[in-house]
Symmetry: C2
Subunit: 347 residues, 2 copies
């Protein structure tokens, strides 16, 4: 197997810097849009293991990527809790039954991962077979705080008024919600690793909207518990875990102390500065501004070189964007990027 | 004059921590909505000095605030450049003639501040008279980068595709745009100080969406030039200047080295950590999460205390929110906050 990605996560020497792209299986690829159209809607695509496997592999057929990431959504857990998820193009996610009151939080079930999320495990097993060792497969989940924002707001948000209201005025209920989500996310990631995921990533898309003490209590602490739960289980303890808080540049030391193996970094953070702050503890993943892929090939190459130089010599860098790829990007720019990262980082 | 605010900006001892609120004259106040309704639209309100003066003073009549900020919009400069600004409730700003090409940037005029923005200076003179020394009056502008995002995108944005595209693919044109905006913003702030503004603030609402090298080149450098221009003019060189990059927590050392007097901080940054990083160079303004004002009075007080303690003993703290107040906030929460800051910070 091409194991650059796993070696970099363990801060071991590699021949070239590994690269993958957040949302690499997605709308910017015409072959994805084709499958998506046939599936009818996004959730059907997620929930049909053959189709999820198919789109997971699509970017690997085009580009020289160093990892696959299972095609799924960050909101599968609240969906499995019965909140009635719908995902419409251009609308963002919606929950039919948002959670607002302590009573509703009390009633939330711990997700029976085997029963309710088996479609994800099937897709993982199928994809591992199809990959037959070419590159590692990444499993993932939304972070408890990020899941809670959607569950309480009922969808995307700008102000996060309801979820922050819960946190400010009913902190015990908010903590219970985080505790329940922490259990279910831990079960979910453990099951993904058992099914064949060789690396795990937690996406904390909305941790960066919190004040530091709130971030620590409601976003970071639950992620620390998840890392602990995974590392305490001998069956999955050697699977590297990456934590990614978008907008978390202020808190790198705190996140790196969680026991995770790597930090995802958005593009506002200098890799050199991140490395001097936490590079002795964790590997770093990132961090091209996704809008650079709208620019010329020359600019894409120049930025790849800049980011490689920003990290500098040494081990522990996984190249990626600083956030998901935009749907309007020309796939040829991704080829340019992936090839430039490999070419320019050859040891 | 109650000069706590100006003394804190100069890191001089104060009897109580001064407090003002970004967008303190605004939609959360029923008396503001009344004037706004009579004015017909937002721009008319900005451009009618009597009305701008009136709403500037409204929050001072209700609350024990330590500063007034002239009621205006951050987009007055591109409006004065002829881009055709419209501001509709709930829609965000729109420019009828966005700027995209190098040719359009070439043609942009340096704003004749006296001729085109005299309504702001009139409002400042009128407000100073009405205040008759009660508290200091703040003047402000959007930062060149932030103005450019609206001018190039034609309005608000999530991806900033066009303005970043300009920056990535036509950096010389982007720099020319920044240079022109830097000149006009410098003229504008100088004129506000001459008209009577006793403190100046630059709002860089969108600097935080940039990678570090892009932030330095396209957002921070123009702000540094503005500070230099102001500090080089003996007529206004003693007016304190506050720079506020929302999402700029990664770059506090860089911003503080600009020569400005104070940094505005959003709520994700710990004041204690900001103070240890840059508190020997500048005062700090901030940084309550604006959504806390939706919470109970007890929570508002507890957070005020937490933030005062986070800053700790010593000089150089101006209490504020970490971003503008939300329109749905109950004005009584503002009273609770302002009074709590004064009570809890009494030396």
């Amino acid at each position: 197997m091409r194991d650059r990605y796993l070696r970099a996560l363990r801060r071991q020497p590699v021949d070239r810097t590994p690269v993958w792209i957040m949302r690499q299986a997605g709308r910017y690829l015409p072959e994805y849009r084709e499958v998506r159209k046939r599936a009818g809607d996004f959730l059907t695509l997620c929930k049909t293991p053959e189709l999820a496997c198919k789109v997971t592999l699509q970017p690997l057929e085009r580009f020289d990527l160093d990892a696959a990431i299972i095609f799924s959504d960050i909101l599968t857990i609240p969906d499995a809790m019965g909140l009635g998820l719908t995902l419409e193009e251009g609308m963002g996610p919606r929950f039919e039954f948002p959670i607002r009151s302590p009573g509703e939080i009390e009633k939330l079930p711990r997700v029976d991962v085997e029963a309710r999320l088996d479609y994800v495990m099937q897709a993982i097993r199928m994809t591992r077979r199809e990959l037959s060792g070419r590159v590692p497969l990444i499993g993932f989940s939304g972070s408890p705080w990020t899941l809670a924002t959607y569950m309480v707001e009922g969808g995307s948000s700008k102000e996060f008024r309801h979820v922050k209201g819960l946190m400010h005025d009913q902190p015990d209920a908010a903590e219970l919600l985080m505790k329940k989500l922490t259990e279910s996310v831990s079960d979910y990631l453990r099951a993904q690793a058992t099914a064949g995921a060789q690396s795990l990533m937690v996406f904390d898309t909305w941790g960066g909207v919190l004040a530091e003490p709130d971030y620590v209590r409601f976003s970071l602490e639950p992620m620390i518990r998840i890392v602990e739960n995974l590392k305490a289980d001998p069956a999955v303890s050697d699977i590297p875990v990456t934590l990614f808080t978008k907008g978390g540049g202020n808190w790198l030391e705190l996140i790196a102390a969680s026991g995770c193996d790597a930090l995802g970094l958005d593009w506002t953070v200098s890799l050199a500065s991140a490395r001097s702050r936490v590079g002795h503890l964790v590997a770093l993943q990132g961090n091209l501004d996704p809008t650079v892929l709208y620019a010329s090939s020359d600019k894409v190459i120049a930025e790849a070189v800049r980011i490689l130089e920003d990290f500098g010599d040494g081990d522990g860098h996984v190249f990626n964007l600083g956030h998901g790829i935009h749907p309007g990007v020309d796939p040829e720019r991704v080829r340019t990027l992936v090839d430039a990262v490999h070419r320019e980082s050859a040891r």
